[in-house]
């Protein structure tokens, strides 16, 4: 369980990344959504004890992040957005090295287990530089799982993965969340929609929403419309509203619009998705 109270972070130079964030993250998978520059990475780096907050308090499983960073690191697995491994080491060597740094007791067994979990066993003797982007993300997840952490923080874990790998990784995170806190930060709404029961949405350092995914979807009810329009109307809609989808057909464009009122005569209300809820929350900013 993670408690965040009145958390703020202002970088040297005056850039404010987080402003008075209050949040409780329960056991299970928790999504963190927001556009670029929202403060997601700053929040995760503070939780991972890699960044000190300017104000407020963070407690991870009862440990204060400011006073007991070492205790939190022993409970933590972290996959940063920018992950790299020593290119001349093999996959097994790299994981063994990271296991040493994590203080893992039975390294040989644990390395084999995590390789199995992320389906990299057949690449165990490959140099890390020879891995594809997707494999490298899986290696990143493997190193984060080495110490069997109670808190797993993953920043954009599905970036660069093909659709099948994305689904597999999402399912793996959902499985892992059965017995730990998994904090999934992403800008891909679909990833959160598929596996996270709850989420928080940040924008420009402010917490816009924290709660169940279903509640955020419900907020968009009656605000999502579908209509078949010509190109000129589609362009006009795009400039006035958040257009979350546009499929060109023989008759024109089938558009999906988030708006408080029907955007064009004849627009039909449709069942919202998390993406619609997210766009609606963002106040009509184009997705």
């Amino acid at each position: 369980m993670i408690h965040i109270e009145h958390l703020s972070k202002t970088y040297r130079g005056g850039v404010r990344a987080l402003n008075d964030i209050n949040l409780t993250i329960p056991l299970g998978l928790y999504g963190l959504l927001g556009p670029n520059g929202a403060g997601k990475t700053s929040l995760m780096r503070i939780l991972a004890t890699l960044l000190e907050p300017t104000g407020g308090q963070v407690t991870v499983f009862g440990h204060d992040a400011a006073r007991e960073p070492g205790a939190i690191r022993r409970l933590l697995g972290y996959l940063p957005q920018e992950f790299g491994a020593y290119p001349t080491l093999t996959v097994t060597e790299y994981l063994d090295y990271m296991a040493i740094l994590s203080g893992v007791a039975d390294r040989y067994q644990r390395v084999n287990e995590v390789l199995e979990l992320v389906r990299l066993t057949d690449k165990r003797h490959a140099r890390t530089r020879a891995l594809s982007g997707g494999m490298r993300r899986r290696l990143g997840l493997a190193q984060a799982l080495l110490a069997d952490p109670r808190l797993l923080i993953v920043d954009e874990p599905t970036a660069g993965l093909d659709p099948e790998e994305r689904v597999n990784l999402r399912n793996l995170l959902a499985d892992l969340a059965l017995e730990r806190v998994v904090l999934l930060s992403t800008h891909i709404v679909e990833d959160v929609a598929q596996v996270a029961p709850s989420l928080a949405v940040l924008r420009r350092g402010e917490l816009l929403y924290a709660g169940p995914v279903s509640d955020l979807i419900r907020r968009a009810e009656g605000q999502v419309w579908s209509a078949l329009v010509d190109d000129a109307t589609a362009a006009a809609l795009r400039s006035r509203h958040a257009l979350v989808g546009a499929v060109r057909t023989a008759e024109g464009q089938q558009v999906r619009v988030v708006a408080p009122e029907p955007p064009v005569p004849g627009a039909a209300p449709v069942t919202p998705t998390l993406e619609d809820g997210y766009v609606a929350l963002m106040g009509g900013e184009r997705s």
Binding site: L101, S102, Q143
Partner: protein, 282 residues
């Protein structure tokens, strides 16, 4: 943990192309020079002994050289003298190899984009830095030992041409007394400097100046003198080796630099810890 870190830093070092290229290129250069110089003297000594070559007229040579050549002809290469010369030259090689081996130790984490993963682990900065230092220094010590043995093989090859024996012990002794403290100290010096400056590349020009004006030759003094301020003990390669004449000074010098090594490593660990705290508080 320190030994685990050392093991992988060692592997990373041994798999670094720059490390091997530097070692091979500079090593070959110095050995060819030493071999050519010694081989030339051996040839001269043989020709003088035969009295068949008018170019080696003893009357035109300085008496000291005549004496040396006569000794060469009679007893071959003095292992003690040659070992000191090999170790002397190798020190200059290794302070440069150490520069690249230790200067970029921490940059390696950054270049591999692995810093955040490392910092999110419950790692003691002291153990991590200590492991990195040992991982850098051990391959250098092993490589220098191999080169010292190669120096012995050169003297053995040349002496066997004269039908004379050679001795390995002086080479091992020169390695232990001259090369080991120089490598330990230089690596610690470069590592600390890289931490203070924040970038490995920034160490190169400073180290160059230090080498030229402070490290090899003492300020305003003679580079071949045994001076406590000179971290490379220079040997003149003649029969009057440092082993027999200046043993106490050599040990005092080496002890001084081993002590400085420990102090530098402690300073490096403090700076590393400070840098991490500063980074977290950015």
């Amino acid at each position: 943990m320190i030994w685990g870190v050392m093991r992988y830093e060692w592997k990373l070092q041994l798999r670094s192309l720059v490390f091997w290229l530097g070692l091979i290129l500079v090593g070959m250069m110095f050995y060819s020079e030493i071999y050519a110089e010694v081989a030339d003297r051996v040839n001269m000594a043989q020709l003088m002994a035969d009295g068949t070559d008018p170019r080696y007229d003893q009357v035109q040579m300085p008496p000291s050289m005549v004496a040396e050549l006569e000794q060469l002809a009679e007893s071959g290469i003095s292992p003690a003298s040659h070992a000191a010369k090999v170790a002397d030259r190798m020190q200059i090689v290794f302070v440069w190899v150490a520069l690249f081996a230790a200067g970029f130790l921490l940059d390696r984490d950054r270049l591999a984009r692995g810093r955040e993963v490392l910092l999110s682990r419950p790692v003691s900065p002291w153990a991590y830095l200590g492991g990195k230092y040992l991982g850098a220094v051990v391959p250098l010590l092993i490589a220098s030992l191999v080169m010292a043995v190669a120096g012995y093989l050169i003297s053995w090859a040349l002496n066997s041409g004269l039908g004379l024996p050679s001795d390995l012990m002086p080479y091992l002794k020169a390695w232990a007394v001259l090369l080991v403290p120089t490598i330990l100290y230089t690596t610690a010096f470069v590592l600390t400097l890289a931490l203070l400056l924040g970038r490995g590349a920034a160490v190169v020009p400073i180290h160059l100046v230090y080498m030229l004006f402070g490290g090899v030759a003492p300020f305003g003094g003679n580079g071949f003198r045994l001076d406590l301020t000179t971290f490379i003990v220079r040997a003149d390669g003649r029969g009057d080796t440092i082993w027999t004449t200046d043993w106490a000074i050599v040990l005092a010098n080496r002890g001084l630099y081993l002590g400085l090594t420990v102090l530098l490593l402690a300073l490096a660990a403090l700076v590393y810890d400070w840098r991490l705290r500063r980074e977290v508080g950015a």
